[in-house]
Every structure is written in C-alpha cells, then in structure tokens.
Symmetry: C2
Subunit: 382 residues, 2 copies
Amino acid sequence: MTREMPKPFSFRVLKTDGAARRGEIVTAHGEVQTPAFMPVGTQGTVKGLTPEDVRATGAEIVLGNTYHLMLRPGAERIAALGGLHEFMNWPLPILTDSGGFQVMSLSDLRKVGERAVTFRSHLDGAVVELTPERAIEIQTLLGADIAMQLDECLKLPAMRDEIARAMQLSLRWAERSKRAFETNARDGYALFGIVQGGDDHALRAESARALIAMDFNGYAIGGLAVGEPQEVMLNIVAETTPMLPAERPRYLMGVGTPHDLIEAVARGVDMFDCVLPTRNGRHGMAFTRYGAINLANARHANDSRPLDAESPHLAARTYSRAYLHHLTKANEMLGAVLLSCINLAYYQSLMAGMREAIGARRFADFCNDTTAQWARGDLPAL
Amino acid sequence: MTREMPKPFSFRVLKTDGAARRGEIVTAHGEVQTPAFMPVGTQGTVKGLTPEDVRATGAEIVLGNTYHLMLRPGAERIAALGGLHEFMNWPLPILTDSGGFQVMSLSDLRKVGERAVTFRSHLDGAVVELTPERAIEIQTLLGADIAMQLDECLKLPAMRDEIARAMQLSLRWAERSKRAFETNARDGYALFGIVQGGDDHALRAESARALIAMDFNGYAIGGLAVGEPQEVMLNIVAETTPMLPAERPRYLMGVGTPHDLIEAVARGVDMFDCVLPTRNGRHGMAFTRYGAINLANARHANDSRPLDAESPHLAARTYSRAYLHHLTKANEMLGAVLLSCINLAYYQSLMAGMREAIGARRFADFCNDTTAQWARGDLPAL
C-alpha cells in the first residue's frame, strides 16, 4: 500500500472584490476555503464540543494553543500519542499559535530577554523558558499544519519606543523561528510571520518589509484586539494588508466580532480566530442574523420560536428560545454546548456568505444587507 | 389527515429466567424494552448531552425531576410550550418522579403534613406547597408518559414507628394521587404506586397489598438507595417483588451501580434510574466492561488505547485514555460530555445484554461472566 504524499502547502486567490479576497489554502490535512474562521481549541478541545460537532458547524480548520498544550499534557507526550490531530480526533487542518500571546496574558513573572521569554506556569508555578526555536519545536511535535513564529505582543496603548523594541525583537525571533522551521521542513506544513508595530504605521511597515524579505508562507497581523477601539484596529489592518504579498494568506489574530470579520475581510484579511463565539456562548449569548441575543433575558422565557428558523445549523432551528433561556438560567452544560455550536455555525455561515459574495462580486451588498439586518435587531417579542 | 391515537399503556412479560423478566412497556410515546435503565434529565436535560447523544447511547426513556421543573421553568410554562417532550426535544417516553424525594433531600424547612408537604425552594427561598393532587397535575402538565404518586421517603436507618407512619401517609397519598390521575386519565399514560416500608418486611408487605388493591399501572420500590448497605437493599427487593403482580412493571427507584442492576434484575426488577453514570462521568469515572476506571489516574496519561475497543459506542472506541485523562485533569467540559455518553452507553449495553440473556435463558451465565470480567479489572497498564 502506498501512502499518499501530502501536497505542498499552497494558497491561491480565486477571486477578488475590492480588497476582499476569496481563496483556498491547501495543507497536509486538507483544504481551507478563505476567508476562514478558526474555532479556538485551547486545550486540545473546542470547549464542550466533539470534533463532529465542530465539523457540523462548517469549520475546516481549528486553532490550538501552544502555551496551554506545552504545559499540559506536554508537546512530547502529544507527539508520542500521534500528534494533536490524532490526540483530539480532528483530522482536518490545525493552526497553532506560538505561545507568545498567552505567556504575556496568563503567566506570572514573565521576563522577556533576547534569547527567550521566561515565565511561571499558571498551573503549577514551574519556571518555563520559551525560545523561538522551542516554540517551533513544540508546534512541530504537535503536528500543526500552520505554525506561528514566536513574537512579543504588547497591550495597547503603549509607548512608541516600547512598541518599536518589541517589534524589533519579534523580527529577530522571526528570523530564528524561520531557521528552526526550515531544519525540519516537511511538505504541506507552513510557518507564518507576524507583523507587529502596534498602532504606528511606520513600525508596521518596517515589520512587514523585514518579514517579507524572510519569505514566510503567510503573514499574520498581530498585536491587535488587545484593548484598542475597533476603528484603530481597522485602520491598522487597512494600512497593513497592502504591504503584504497578494499571493500569501493574511491572518488577523484574535479577531473578532461578526462586524470585525466583515470589516477586516473588506480590508483584505483571509483568516481569523477568536474565542468570542464559544466563550460568549458559555455565558448565554447567541450570535445570529438578528445580531447578538442575550438568552438570559426574561423576554425569551415563554418564546417557543427557535433562535433562527432559517439557520443552516440544526440546533439553531430546533431548540426554542424558551429552552435555551431555561438552560442558561439553570447554568446547564447543555446550554453552553448548544450556544457554542449555534455561534460557531453562525460565524461559519457568515464566512460562507462572504466567500460566496466575493465570488459573485457583490461583497459590498452582502455587507450592507448583513449589517442592516443586525441593526434591525432581534425578532419582536411574541 | 387523521392523527394516530396513542396506544393504551401496557406491559407484557416476554420471557422469564428465574425471577428475571424480559418485557416490553408501551406508552404514548413509544415502546421501552425491559429491563430498562432511564438516564436522569434533572432540569429538562441529561447534563451536557443533546437528545441525539442520549438516544445514541441506546436509551429509550428518560426521567425528569418534578421538583426541579416545577420550580424552574415551571410546569404551566412547559405545558404552554407544548410539554416536556417538546421542550427538551426528546420524542420518546418520559417518566417523571413526584418531587417527593427531592423535596426531602434538597429543600429547607420542609414540613410534612397530612394534606401536603410544604418547603422552601432551594432556588429563591419561596414557600411552596406540594399536595398529591398538585404532584399529579404537574406531571400531567409536563406530559409524562409515566407519572409517580407523591410519597414520603425516609433515610435509613430509621425507627420502625417513623417508617410505619411515613408508609401509611404514602398510602393515603397514593389513594389521592390515583383519584387525581383518573380525573384526567388519557390513553397511553400511566401512574405508578410506590411501595414504602423501609427495611421492614411486614411494612413493605402491608404497603404492597394496599397499593395493589388500588390497581396502579406499575409499582415502584421506593425508599432504597438512601444509605443502606447493598445487601439490605437487595434483601428488601427480593422480598418485595414476589408481592407484586407479575403482569405489571416493577421500578426500583434511584438504583444504582452496574452490580446493583444485575442483582436487582435477578430479583425481578424491570426499570431503573440513577445519576451515577452521568454524575460520576462528570468527575472522571468511566463504567466499562473492565469495571469502574478513574481517568484522573496518572497511569492513563500516555495510554493511546481507547477505553473499550469493543464497545458499541463510538466515543468509547475512539478517544484515547490519554485524551480522556487530559480532559479530566484540565477540567474540560468535553471530558464530562464524553464520559457521560460512554457511561450511559455502558449501562445501556449492560441492560441489552441482560435482556438478551433472559430471552435465551442464560441470565445466570451472563451475570457470572459480567461480574467475573469486572473482578479481573482494567487492562494491564501499557
């Protein structure tokens, strides 16, 4: 029996409509249609959902968190168990972050040096060192289809000097990440560089130029969705995407709301990840065609209608608002499960709608119709 | 279009093997093969599982808790929303308890009087009164295929006088429950009486005799699994089942472990409910052919084998012990979901095995083989 060789990693732009792009990524574990949204599987699981549940929402790729997985159960352990795809029973593409962002946000006593970032594990207080080379090694052990370089991510607002220093360090780490990745390069697997530079145009441009010279498989825009207003974020996205090569995928990290996604796709972004649909789902919030709906609100208590009778996802068409309200008020696990599914399915249908609209060159109309429907708000109460 | 009329409630014994019975219950929402295990859907949901998940474990009937549902979201509300089947999207049979047991175990300031039990809601402290008539009204509003009489359930050990008093009160409440049920009787719906009498043979006999004279659709054995040793419980079951009419189903309430189920079926019980498979699943314990397995144990951390490669349930065959260990240690919701499914599926396969063995008149062999395999314990560590 001959084993099929993985295809080389590739990205093609199939259509454009203004700055918006309709594309396809090919990885070792299959294709991803872009613009794409990646559900977050922090600890080797999209919280509460089976891989079949995640697939049923329409997701073609999920994100895994290097920081969490390196601490528990450990990258070497996952590798010995056949890699992250096998471990979590998800046979489709996986992108892993580098761990850098969560070192900054979750761990104590972190110290960023030239060579490495050193921190205490939030689990047991153990001192852990993460170098750009180790971040790549971990992601290779996990078997990520798309790995990310280690970078230093600051909260905004920050001083320009500090933003410049972190950006420069991230560039040197990009170089080391690239070298480490290439020593073990395998067909079908990719490494993305991350553009930093905070809210400063010149720094973003310097970061993008230097990364492009290193020739990554794709480029992320990092350091956003860290507290700045949406307008600031979208301006930086709009300024940054034209600096990036058209023939490589562009990934806006950690973004965002449905409105963020539409606006960022309009500015040329191809890939997204965010915890919002699952985290907010666990707290009783549904994302729908009618905008965000708080199921804890008493107005749903007697409402026999489903969240969205025309949703492509079974759960959104099946369960009554009254039942989802009840599960939310009673803090029942099934409420978290169903709303996570419903929200991920809404995000995926939004992405599918954008892809179709770009293909038909009616993206602006799609965005107008979609935001107008959000603005009209939820169905009137019964 | 003519709507199909529900069949009358019925029970047939199809085969016997010693005291063990293989039977079939017909209800307004379909058939239930006995001996049957009913997963517990306390607040209108088997915790963490969709109805499709529950069905995939092999369950044909679930239990709903009157106490919880009457307090939240309320019986009238559920009725207005189309009944409990519609509310929780479970189209198959539902049995509801009367609320009595949980009034005793969960609420404060309960006061048992001749007319009613009065208590404070554990949710908001509101004073609520539950009469036998209201317990039936609630269960009718919920649309339970099988309703239970209100009874008073004591913890064991208890004084004989106290047991006798509670049993006598439960008989008077049985009479009132029966009368209330008959004023609204509908085809396909059933009411069960509950034999009380603690660990006293004469009191159990008196209770059974009086209930049989009232002619219920089925008979439960209540007041067990409340702290007494297994041997005491099984002795009472063995003494009680011969007092009950052969042509009516027998339901042992709140029981139990896989071993309890085998021993109780051997003594002539047809129906069970218990939170063990789901509650213990939420705490990292799996019930399997190899006995109970604690997934939190470090010996599973590197074990790539599934829990049971020959299980009829996909999850038990698919996910590695290492992954289930990881989910358990990381307190991930998916661990609770998967182990609840796996445990319910094991319980259902145990019931199916017993049904098949009784049909083939080799029930004793089946019990010996099953308990011998439990005694051999889990697979040796890798």
